[in-house]
Amino acid sequence: MGMTMTEKIMARHAGLESVKPGDLIEAEIDLMMGNDITAPISIKRLKDIGLTKLPYPEKFFLVLSHYAPSKDIASAAQIMISRSFAKEQQLQHYYAEGSGIEHVILPEEGWVLPGELIIGADSHSCTYGATGCYSTGIGSTDLAAAMATGRLWMQVPETYKFELTGARPQYIMGKDLILHIIGMLGGDGVLNQTMEYTGDALRTLPMEERLTMANMAIEAGAQNGIFPYDDVTEAYLNGRAKKEYTPVHSDPDAKYAKHFKIDISKIEPLVALPWSPENVRTVSEMSGETVDRVFIGSCTNARLSDLRTVASIIKGHKVACDTLIVPGSKQVYRDAMNEGLFEIFLEAGATISAPTCGACFGGFMGVLGPDEKCLSTSNRNFVGRMGHPTSKSFLANPAVAAATALTGVITHPKDVAGREVVTA
């Protein structure tokens, strides 16, 4: 019996010839990640059992991303726990506040690689599956156990296959494809299983779009969203990969629990309404719905390509509502600045902040007030997610966010494409 990519990665890391869905394995972990919110609990767990030295410090990545730069005294105190642990353990992979969002940084720097088994104490750690690894979110105690032993128990998930075909229409981004799937299957449509992408349409999906799609696997309940290793992956990793890697490929006779075929040429720009990413409508259906502000950022859509898309739409125009743009990492920040995107954003009246998760999780820097409505490029719109429990977040791709910023109402990007330029 053949195996899927996920099964092969799990077998390889458990030292087994083969595994099947439902098997419990003890897996060697290649890379483990914690952030300023989740790592302090892991650090406490480790101290509680008397650990003084990490056995595999080179595998641990600590990223201060959520309440960083520190929002207040409590979050500063929390950051100090991570900082002092990084010093004590002489961590090589410590990302101080202002570095950005872990799920933007790690792929960008070439740390997450095909065939690897990765865990992160952040639910969007599934993002890394875009490069062909199995990567999943876990909690702080799981992270602590992996930090202490290099291993973690896992149950082999079933694999759902998503075969994407057809040409990608203008303005359709990875965000629309994953929203389409979540809308179709629901927030628990792939509960505790894994999503594997395949099909001709993948050729038209650059790594940035794949990262967006893998990022939101968790919003369908999935543990991971994995992409095959192909020319796009190879080109992305060329000169970027920090280590040698050995990709895996699903066998032709691998067993899939479910198989979905999606013609992406039929998909329109989409928006997820409160209070769940599964609550999906077309942008055209929601056209004219007013918003009070636009947020462009988060581990879903804050990469350079996203910011270029935004700039291409708002260049020469003025925003009609408060528009906050938060580059996902220091590198994205620098590149966007060097390319002149900041000038376009500032000229349009938008605000740019240092890289942080901030507004996406209602942490700081762009928190929503009572009944306030925000069009956001982030990944979740649960009750209270971005601020007050009565605030409302609408999730969409960066092109829709840019178009909406120009009008103050939910807008299809094609509707602002021919606008007369109002600024120099």
Binding site: I49, Q78, G139, S140, A144, T149, D188, S276, G363, F382
Partner: protein, 173 residues
Amino acid sequence: MQFEGRTWRYGDDINTDVLIPARYLSTSDPVELAKHALEDLDPNFVKEVQVGDVIVGGKNFGCGSSREHAPIAIKEAGVSCVIASSFARIFFRNSINLGLPILECPEAVAHAEAGDVLRIDLAAGTIFNNTTGQTYQAAPFPEGVMKIIRAGGLMNSIKEEVQAREATYASAK
């Protein structure tokens, strides 16, 4: 392990953002977190919850963020057990790792109403609804999960290995 408590009945897809809103994540102190458990969904919960009470939810309980602050907050608030039709994996693992009892049992969920008194035998996986007189059987845990429960949580299950290694560091000095 046996528990008895009143039911707090919630619906499907109870996510970790409502179990503990992110605005309180600048601390990991259980006592502070417990003060805000479920406040965006049910402001009465923290005011009225009693030690031993049971949370009963529908499908996909604990979906969303990986924040362990969610099971920490409800455990510290006094909740003895969470029963749901299905659990999101990260919440499931976090709860087992922390020693917050959870049971998957769609039948018990379907017939439980707010305020029902439930008696739970965790080892047997049985849920007795005192109010209706019905008994339900929860899905058994996989063996790997039972091992962690028997050890008293995940950190306890690896403690010996870690302390043996620490001893070699000490003797090498």
